[in-house]
């Protein structure tokens, strides 16, 4: 394993040439932008959604166990499968279109796929990713939420805080370490988006991992593929450092 890392750094075939090549390749910039853009769009959505889910589950309403299982289900679904699932939902003969046409809201289907509909493909990818990967963030946040002792919230209630105030002053601050962990993990994985993008949009929406795959398997230019992968790694490490540096919370969970 460690060996492989060393190999990566030595990207076979003139490193400089490869870098120059890559920078000249328009796909590269698109890939970089897309990857970052997607991450920027998806992650906040997921965190908000996951937080909502976690708070909902934490009220422990009757049957919350079932909802919990349902919410966790997407964790078992690979990105390729998720892409296919939403393809079935959003394709011209897919559920959404047929449903809306049936209700006479639409006359013709909304096209999500195909090169000319890049914007829609973006949307499809965002929907798919939010659908699939919110579960990871959700589980982490839920774990953190459940660690908050009920008495802290009761004390706040007795001393006059309403539900929203309790959320703002007590729950969220105590959730900070979980949020931090969730953000790091999610962002790292976000930089690696591959399967669902490939399925839904092919090379219409290039992403870093996708380009790496393409270079490797189709063009068989290992050097460039390695380079793409390295970019992902560098991005990940940069973000990781950034998060740890600026989002660290300083208290220790006491009693």
């Amino acid at each position: 394993m460690a060996q492989a890392v060393a190999l990566a750094s030595s990207g076979p075939g003139g490193l400089i040439a490869n870098v120059a090549n890559m920078l000249a390749d328009p796909y590269f910039y698109e890939a970089l932008t897309n990857t970052l853009l997607l991450a920027a769009m998806i992650i906040p959505l997921q965190v908000a959604l996951a937080l909502g889910f976690a708070l909902l589950i934490n009220t422990k309403f009757p049957g919350y166990n079932i909802l919990l299982y349902i919410l966790v289900l997407p964790l078992t679904i690979s990105d390729v499968a998720a892409g296919l699932i939403w393809y079935s939902m959003l394709s011209p003969y897919g559920f959404l279109n047929k449903f809306l046409i049936d209700l006479r809201i639409l006359k013709r289907p909304i096209y999500f796929f195909g090169y000319q509909f890049k914007r829609m493909e973006y949307l499809a990818i965002v929907i798919t990713e939010v659908w699939r990967a919110t579960a990871i963030v959700f589980v982490i946040i839920l774990a953190g939420l459940q660690m908050i002792s009920k008495e802290y919230l009761e004390a706040a209630e007795v001393f006059g805080a309403g539900s929203l105030q309790r959320l703002k002053h007590i729950t969220l601050p105590l959730l900070k370490p979980s949020l931090q962990a969730a953000l790091i993990i999610r962002t790292l994985f976000a930089f690696q988006v591959f399967g669902q993008v490939w399925i839904l949009a092919g090379r219409d929406v290039p992403v870093l991992a996708g380009e790496a795959y393409y270079q490797q398997v189709e063009i068989k230019n290992y050097g460039r593929a390695a380079l793409y992968s390295l970019i992902i790694a560098v991005l990940s490490m940069a973000v990781g450092w950034f998060y740890i540096r600026f989002l660290k919370s300083t208290y220790i969970e006491g009693g």
């Binding site: 190999l7 990566a8 079932i66 964790l75 078992t76 499968a81 982490i140 992968s229």
Partner: protein, 274 residues
């Protein structure tokens, strides 16, 4: 304003509405695509049939046997099982050691393990391929098992260490006082107690390997695993209904596992996060 009881009712309505929406949001796409996988083409292409009424196994069958997916399924299965076996073989002792013994450098080791987990696997995928070609492991199942094991090993080590840490050492020591050796006390006392947690870990490892797509696609050409196989199939264009049929075979095994062991999986996942 509303009296307290009215407010209660409103809150309750809001709660259950959100619950229903959340559940539908997750379940609907899955159920629908599964349905589509078994739908007959006439119903699918019919503009007015929102939910297919006629079902056929034809597509799944064709997908599996005509389009070679069955072999891919077998490959995926083999790789997943191999990954479980290998990562457990290497990871269990490590996890146990981490839990029970204090040795210098323990904390740094833990940190290292966590860091490797966060490392994007993409980075090793490409040079790994090159390496494999040289060694002759390219396109072999074993090669992929090694790669997947590398991926899941940190995870296994961390989780098994917390499982073992959760079993009081007293039990083992009592066994040793009463005559068992260290090894057999591990096998006969600790292991059975750890079994549920280990089973859950195995399931999780299975899911990770089963769903892994990138390395599998990069590493293998002929002997592809399921996700990789489907990926290429789709890239080269194929009729919609095969895509949907694929969903069911990809998704059902993992989902059924989770059904069996859901409570464990969530606490496991929570433990991994420091």
């Amino acid at each position: 304003m509303l009296n307290p009881n009215g407010r209660e009712l409103l809150k309750r309505i809001a709660l259950y509405t959100s619950v229903t929406i959340a559940a539908c949001w997750i379940l609907a796409p899955i159920i629908i695509s599964l349905l589509y996988g078994f739908a007959s083409p006439e119903d699918y292409y019919d503009k007015y049939k929102v939910i297919p009424l006629h079902f056929t196994f034809k597509h799944v069958y064709e997908l599996l046997f005509v389009l070679d997916s069955f072999r891919a399924v077998l490959n995926s299965l083999a790789v997943a099982l191999g990954t479980i076996a290998l990562s457990f073989l290497l990871g269990l002792p490590a996890g146990y050691a981490l839990a029970k013994f204090v040795f210098p450098g323990k904390d740094t080791l833990k940190l290292l393990i966590v860091v490797t987990r966060m490392f994007p696997i993409m980075v090793i995928a490409v040079p790994l391929t090159v390496l494999y070609i040289r060694i002759g492991l390219s396109d072999t199942l074993i090669g992929l098992v090694l790669a997947h094991t590398a991926m899941s090993l940190p995870f296994v080590v961390l989780i098994t260490s917390s499982i073992f840490a959760g079993i009081p050492t007293d039990y083992e020591e009592a066994a040793m006082v009463f005559g068992l050796s260290r090894v057999s006390s591990f096998l006969r006392i600790t292991l059975p107690l750890a079994l549920p947690g280990l089973a859950a870990t195995a399931m999780f490892t299975f899911i990770i390997s089963w769903n892994e797509v990138f390395i599998a696609s990069v590493l293998m050409l002929v002997n592809r695993t399921l996700p990789a196989h489907i990926l290429t199939m789709v890239t080269y264009g194929c009729p919609d209904y095969y895509k949907f049929a694929a969903i069911s075979i990809m998704v059902l095994p993992a989902m059924s596992f989770v059904l069996i062991a859901r409570k464990y999986l969530i606490s496991m996942w929570g433990i991994t996060i420091r």
